[in-house]
């Protein structure tokens, strides 16, 4: 880990390409398995709030990732589960299953459709919540500058697929922990649409971890805050957890 940070520190002194920076962010160590509990608070312009709570597990298999996620709040969606096998290979569709406890039924759902949809009514898209492949955007390093006391790379990313909901995004990537401090998403008319602010980052078990972040739609003034609790890395989970049978069994 120390060697990695040293390497990162050395690299920061060199001129990297935008792609190299984003690849470094993607390759940031996060253990082979992960567990976390998320509280999502949706806030309307008038101040009223809604809440969702999610518990999730993830496991890396080579460059691919398997995830299991269950809603624990509110009551009407409690027990609803998502199983996802995310493939790193471009063009290979992710495999996704949705379990609906009221129906006692698992559905195979489309692996590609929901990426640009908003996740459960929040201001985060499924793409924001998942692992976007580095080459789904073209990246350009704009400059290096300090933001909130952190030395950052500023990278502009333009999606290759013109059907994405943003025309470009600009990320301030912290050089000390390889986590974005601030991201601006611009719409098709190149107007600022959404702003992601990472509000709390902490090292847990030696891994840099986001504990709190907010995505705000500056056009509608609707925002979503995600608080991550009880994050654990390298948890003891068998790959048998990431199966349809376990999805149906529930938490």
């Amino acid at each position: 880990m120390a060697a990695f940070l040293l390497a990162a520190s050395e690299m920061s002194g060199q001129q990297l390409t935008g792609r190299q920076v984003i690849q470094k962010v993607k390759d940031r160590p996060d253990g082979d398995t992960r567990y976390g509990e998320m509280e999502l608070t949706l806030k309307k312009k008038n101040g009223s709030t809604r809440q969702r709570k999610v518990t999730s597990w993830a496991m890396d298999e080579g460059k691919d990732t398997k995830k299991m996620m269950f809603f624990t709040y509110p009551g009407d969606v409690k027990g609803t589960g998502f199983l996802t096998w995310d493939y790193d290979e471009i063009g290979k569709e992710d495999a996704k299953w949705l379990y609906l406890p009221a129906m006692k039924k698992t559905r195979r759902i489309s692996g590609s459709s929901s990426k640009t949809d908003y996740f459960m009514g929040t201001d985060f898209t499924y793409d924001d919540m998942g692992q976007r492949h580095v080459d789904e955007d073209t990246h350009m390093l704009l400059r290096e500058e300090s933001r909130n006391g952190h030395k950052c790379w500023v990278v502009e990313s333009v999606p290759v697929d013109k059907h994405e909901i943003y025309s470009r995004k600009v990320s301030w990537i912290r050089q000390d922990c390889l986590i974005a401090d601030h991201v601006e998403y611009y719409d098709k008319l190149n107007k600022l649409h959404r702003v992601l602010t990472i509000q709390e980052v902490k090292k847990i078990q030696g891994f840099w971890t986001i504990l709190k972040m907010e995505m705000k739609n500056v056009q509608t003034e609707h925002s979503t805050t995600i608080v991550v609790k009880n994050t654990q890395y390298d948890v003891k989970v068998d790959k048998a957890l990431f199966t349809v049978a376990k999805l149906e069994k529930g938490l």
């Binding site: 009551g75 299953w97 195979r108």
Partner: protein, 383 residues
């Protein structure tokens, strides 16, 4: 005993925190809802079709790999008085480790990939007390039995045994607005070991396709009219299903062969059932789903029948408002039953739902309900 059951259900209303998550401690999970549903006929005589309120409690107790699940309703039904009271839905004990999952007791078992249509999904029968004008999860009747499942990463094998079968609940009482008429129902099969249901399902879950094979030695669970009396007879189902995601679509297919199925009039003959479905995840919170199901019977006057469904759903206002239309279309006779609804989340716990059930038919399965179009309202508090 009944008072004890009511007390147990009321205890379920008050959520208690789950205890610590370590393996050896007893973990308790509670969820449920309180809802009230009222529907009025939009045609003369504009009478109330449904008026019911209930509490649903679901409790899971788990320690290590073993646990128990109980789900029950406490209902007040102002129209169907005999439906009021305590109603046990599921009650089963289970053992589950990395690969084995055993459930014993009263449970809902679902097979297949069809949406609201039954081809291979014929283990848990249907409660047609209010026909299809209920939530689909309320229509399934649990069965008492044993389910054993062994699963690996990309496949699972399941065996089921149901010693005493459950059958369709049909509305034959004249006071029920959903009555199909005073049909005499013959006696259910004797509770003998040789009358048990048994079967199995082998399922595969791969990166680009899911598919299953299933077999079940069972009964026709919806009574078939033979000389004016609804009867049950043995039959065997052999079936399979498949789901293939293709971009924004998922293509679904399901087939089943009912061997020796009891036909109207008393003859026994095989029937072939096939379904094709298409789900379109169109983006912007639009979901569209269409299915066509065809039944072919080897003998009889009406050998071919077709039934379609169409579902369109749109979520709005950050998923707080869901608009949905779901239609059953009797392709053979031209009838339709369509449920149009708007579900608004007033807050995290409380949903208000309004909707309209439209029946239109001159012949076929929906004819008996052609004057049952209704406007409904529902309030649901989930915990």
């Amino acid at each position: 005993m009944r008072h004890l059951s009511l007390f147990a259900l009321l205890l379920c209303i008050f959520p208690r925190p789950a205890s610590a998550q370590d393996e050896d401690s007893l973990r308790v999970s509670v969820k449920g809802f309180v809802d009230t549903y009222h529907a009025v006929r939009t045609e003369s005589p504009n009478d109330w079709m449904s008026s019911r309120s209930r509490v649903r409690g679901e409790v899971t107790l788990e320690k290590g790999n073993a646990g128990a699940f109980v789900s029950a309703n406490l209902i007040h039904n102002a129209i169907l008085k005999d439906r009021s009271g305590f109603q046990l839905r599921e009650a089963y004990a289970y053992y589950s480790d990395d690969h084995w999952d055993v459930r014993a007791g009263r449970q809902i078992i679902t097979w297949g990939v069809a949406d609201a249509l039954r081809l291979t999904d014929i283990i848990s029968p249907m409660d047609y007390t209010e026909f299809l004008a209920q939530d689909y999860d309320d229509i399934r009747i649990p069965v008492g039995g044993l389910r054993l499942r062994y699963s690996r990463e990309k496949w699972s094998a399941e065996a089921v045994a149901i010693p005493v079968s459950s059958f369709f609940d049909l509305p034959t009482d004249a006071v029920n607005p959903w009555s199909v008429g005073p049909i005499p129902i013959g006696s259910e099969p004797k509770r003998k070991a040789y009358n048990m249901e048994y079967g199995g399902r082998l399922s595969f879950f791969l990166s680009g396709i899911d598919f299953s094979f299933s077999a079940l030695h069972t009964w026709n669970k919806q009574p078939v009219l033979c000389n004016g009396v609804g009867e049950y007879q043995r039959m065997t189902m052999l079936g399979g299903d498949v789901s293939v995601p293709v971009g924004k679509f998922v293509v679904r297919g399901e087939v089943s062969e009912y061997l020796d199925e009891l036909q109207s009039g008393g003859a026994r003959a095989a029937s072939t059932n096939a379904l094709v479905g298409l789900d379109w995840y169109a983006g912007n919170d639009w979901t569209l789903s269409a299915q066509y199901s065809h039944k072919y019977v080897v003998l009889g006057k009406h050998r071919n029948t077709g039934l379609s469904t169409l579902r369109i759903q749109k979520d709005l206002l950050h998923n707080t408002l869901a608009l949905q239309t779901f239609a059953y279309i009797d392709v053979t006779n031209g009838g339709i039953f369509n449920r149009l609804s708007a579900d608004y989340a007033l807050n995290d716990q409380l949903h208000a739902i309004v909707g309209y059930d439209l029946f239109h038919a001159d012949s076929g399965m929906f004819t008996v309900y052609k004057k049952n179009s209704e406007l409904f309202v529902k309030l649901k508090y989930s915990f």
